[in-house]
Symmetry: C2
């Protein structure tokens, strides 16, 4: 075995193993042993990369947040961006489940909440920019755009949850999102 190992790439590998397990069984099904097996490394390696389990979870959440953020930045147009945030397509279902699992734990875990807040702050900023660019000017264009961004962000997350729970089909959720975007006024 090499004396020098690329720790960063290994951390990413482990983070994706965490996500795979969280997708399958929820965050409570994530154990160090299972993570190690899923990642194809030994438990010792996992422990070397992360001092504690919480540290591993925080890294994993940061990792998936960055993945989502990257996709969001790559998307063009308010509608596309909103759809990416809502994680409605089948291919993003896993990330959606991971997001929901982490969101629930964040409600009782300040470190995880901090990561999510940063993620939301960035998403909100991007949405605000896009909404302002659509040019619905008013007496308080900036404030209105920020408000509309908050609405859109919350709507997208709510739709994600409703799809995961099975209350809405992905198609119905997409329709709600489209309809909202088509009709939401600036004020």
């Amino acid at each position: 075995m090499p004396r020098q190992v690329d720790h960063d790439s290994r951390r990413r590998t482990i983070a994706e193993a965490v996500c795979a397990l969280a997708d399958r069984d929820g965050l409570e099904g994530v154990t160090l042993r299972d993570v190690a097996e899923e990642a194809g490394v030994s438990m010792g390696a996992v422990q070397r990369c992360f001092r504690t389990k919480d540290e591993m979870l925080v890294f994993a959440l940061t990792h998936v947040s960055e993945q989502v953020a990257a996709r969001i930045r790559r998307a063009h147009g308010l509608g596309r961006v909103a759809a990416e945030i809502a994680l409605l397509t089948e291919g993003h279902r896993a990330q959606a489940r991971v997001w929901l699992a982490f969101a629930a734990r964040a409600a009782v875990s300040p470190p995880l909440a901090a990561v999510l807040r940063a993620h939301y702050a960035e998403a909100h900023a991007l949405l605000t920019r896009l909404i302002q660019a659509t040019g619905d000017d008013g007496p308080d264009a900036a404030g209105d755009a920020a408000e509309r961004a908050r609405t859109l962000l919350a709507l997208a997350d709510g739709l994600t949850a409703h799809v995961l729970i099975g209350h809405l089909t992905p198609h119905a959720a997409q329709a709600v999102l489209d309809h909202h975007l088509a009709t939401a006024p600036a004020r």
Copy 2:
């Protein structure tokens, strides 16, 4: 000890202990021992009331769902109902955390998902009725009302999550909700 015990009331007591713990430490902090202690009964009593832990969790979720549903039915006006669903006030924070915890687990637990779906179906029906009553008639008034209800429900849940995570203050979330209700068109 009495040979006959009111099992239903004891089940409710236990369900509220589950909620208290889930509020404090999340659903993963809910153990049979802690639930028994919180409820002021012995572990054996908990096991007598519920054959298994999952059965207890399903009952607890049903219990809190009914509490929320009762408050929703008691509220008057679309705005009040939506606010109740969003669980934004400080007094309902505990129920909000419990809801988020259960929602996350429901994504990987069909029995819990079934309970939540029933809850959402009822809430959606109520919101649809209220929206239709506001009298925004159109070419497809019924369909529009249902669509608007889906939007409002998802928005309310998203706002709940964002408050719990700390991305929004309860006040800001309420403002988003009010603004949405004040400006959302029928089509």
